[in-house]
Symmetry: C2
Subunit: 341 residues, 2 copies
């Protein structure tokens, strides 16, 4: 049996191995869903179906983060934010409701569950939504590591924002600093000395995204949240789907000091690390400044900046301008960061 | 630390312990969702929100069945059917689409995953729906037992059928034989000799339910699928929520010979065992015969029959008339049947 006959950690890492798995197994029979819906074949963050004049957008995510509590958040806040953000990335910034299925290990502490539930409710309140239905399953001791939370959300959008709408000349904006979530979780897991300074950015972004869409309208042509696989993974996917090259300006990448230190210490490129409270936006050049100002006026977008630009060079590729030269940015296909979300 | 400070298997069994957990943790702050929606506070199989003249119904379920392949089905067919059936029980018999989040254990075989995916697609085709979006996570070896599949479904209903609409005089119908799923899984797990004759009933029921609703209209006042907790659990919940007593006629309960034998062998009451392709319907007396005929005309309802009647005696309780006397039917709060779905 070869390695590929069995699932590996990299199949859940959000990179090429996962895409191959989805394409060859889950979406292998998914045809084009037709003009009235977007489904698996598009491999976007969610699906959408026409309902009257609007689109009903929906998305689902399983959350297996380890540890379940970390600086800046926990698995409950992550579960709500991850789903709210996937909806927002498609243009549905007012979630109608969430469904939440929880799998628990026998022996899980009720106090921990209450703490997670509090966090779920707080994150829902921030996002202006609520859990309306759920399910609870219990597996025996040793059959699941603590808790798995799967959240599914849905909402209406007047216009679907895809992740393949970039064209040469478009500006790439990011709503804030990079790598905060991934390094906070790694620090917790490995008890790094930097621990105290690293803090996950996990947050629901629908309010922030609504501001950007209000400011930029249809000039906001692509959005994606750089979670698993980080900014590198998200931009490589957007570039490949859109058929444009993306030139990133390294000097302009917003990275906190502690994250930069952790990145050097662990030898992990911040571009490959998960964010859980950030969005990448592709905006037509004439409106980029206006959208950037709208982002910066929101508390979750204060550190927003322009980090790159699309071109017709090297279509499908992401290139980093380091100031000293240029290098290709590859997707990570790694097993470095399992259970980061 | 007392027993209740930690989660036990019974908290996932669909009975009183689970209800207490949901009420004291997940739904403790869930107010009445208001006239335009039904949510956690109703503790129904799903939630619903008004969209124009119709209701958008949604429901989620995590599936942890062990073993993942069993006679009559597998975890994939179960995941689709469970969600389609919860929608149907609320009156949404034409699912708009499903979302599917899969958590895999490192080392899981790709051939098994393909087999499950085939089964998911077949069950979707039977139900007239498709998986439109999903998520894949991988946990390390020993961190999850094989595979967990969480499915969420959406659909519109013109009228929500609740599980609390019974009143004295209503007839209770079941769409076919009892206990097939639970005993098939137990037989597989314990390698019972009866193995070959036991076969899960897992199937999407939306087509069958649509026939019943077309025949009975608003006289179909309550529906529930007797999954975890079995017919006893489902009827106790319906009786309690509706404030009526339910008198079951033991002689009329449809049970296959092999299931009866397994029930006696294992000492497990068939009324406590999970079904995954059956529905309980509460119907106003004048239309019960008409609905029953509609059920029997469908391949999945050939063994449908009337099994009981609602009264104003012992409101909230279920009583079994054995032919020799009467006994109360209690919900199981057991740990007998973990990971049955």
């Amino acid at each position: 049996m070869t390695r590929d006959d069995r699932i590996g950690l990299r199949h859940g890492a959000g990179g090429p191995a996962m895409r191959e798995l989805v394409q060859s197994v889950f979406a292998r029979n998914a045809g084009d869903a037709g003009g009235d819906s977007l489904g698996l074949a598009q491999l976007d963050d969610g699906a959408a179906v026409r309902v009257g004049e609007r689109w009903l957008v929906y998305t689902t995510d399983a959350h297996v983060v380890k540890p379940i509590f970390f600086r800046g958040g926990d698995i409950g806040r992550l579960a709500v934010s991850g789903t709210v953000n996937d909806l927002a990335m498609m243009g549905a910034t007012e979630p109608l409701g969430l469904a939440c299925a929880i799998v628990l290990e026998e022996g899980f502490e009720r106090t921990a569950l209450l703490r997670i539930q509090d966090s779920i409710e707080r994150a829902c309140a921030e996002a202006g939504t609520a859990i309306h239905t759920g399910d609870t399953k219990v597996m025996g001791r040793g059959e699941v590591d603590g808790i798995v939370i799967t959240t599914t959300g849905f909402g209406f959008a007047d216009r679907i924002v895809r992740d393949d709408g970039l064209r040469p000349g478009d500006e790439i904006l990011v709503t804030g600093t990079l790598g905060d979530h991934g390094f906070a979780v790694l620090a917790e897991r490995h008890d790094l000395a930097l621990h105290g300074e690293l803090r996950s950015d996990v947050a629901p972004l629908n309010g922030l995204v609504a501001r950007a869409l209000a400011a930029g309208g249809e000039t906001v042509v692509a959005m994606k949240d750089p979670t698993r696989g980080g900014v590198a993974g998200a931009l490589c996917e957007m570039a490949a789907k859109s058929g444009v090259g993306v030139l990133l300006d390294e000097v302009s990448l917003p990275v906190r000091r502690a994250v930069r230190a952790a990145s050097e210490l662990l030898g992990i490129d911040v571009l490959h690390v998960a964010n859980e409270g950030k969005a990448l936006l592709g905006v037509r050049p004439q409106e980029a400044k206006r959208v950037l100002e709208a982002l910066r006026a929101h508390p979750l977008g204060r550190d927003a900046c322009r980090i790159g630009r699309c071109s017709d060079e090297l279509p499908g590729r992401v290139v980093l301008d380091t100031g000293f030269g240029r290098r290709l940015v590859a997707e990570s296909d790694g097993e470095l960061l399992p259970r980061i979300c």
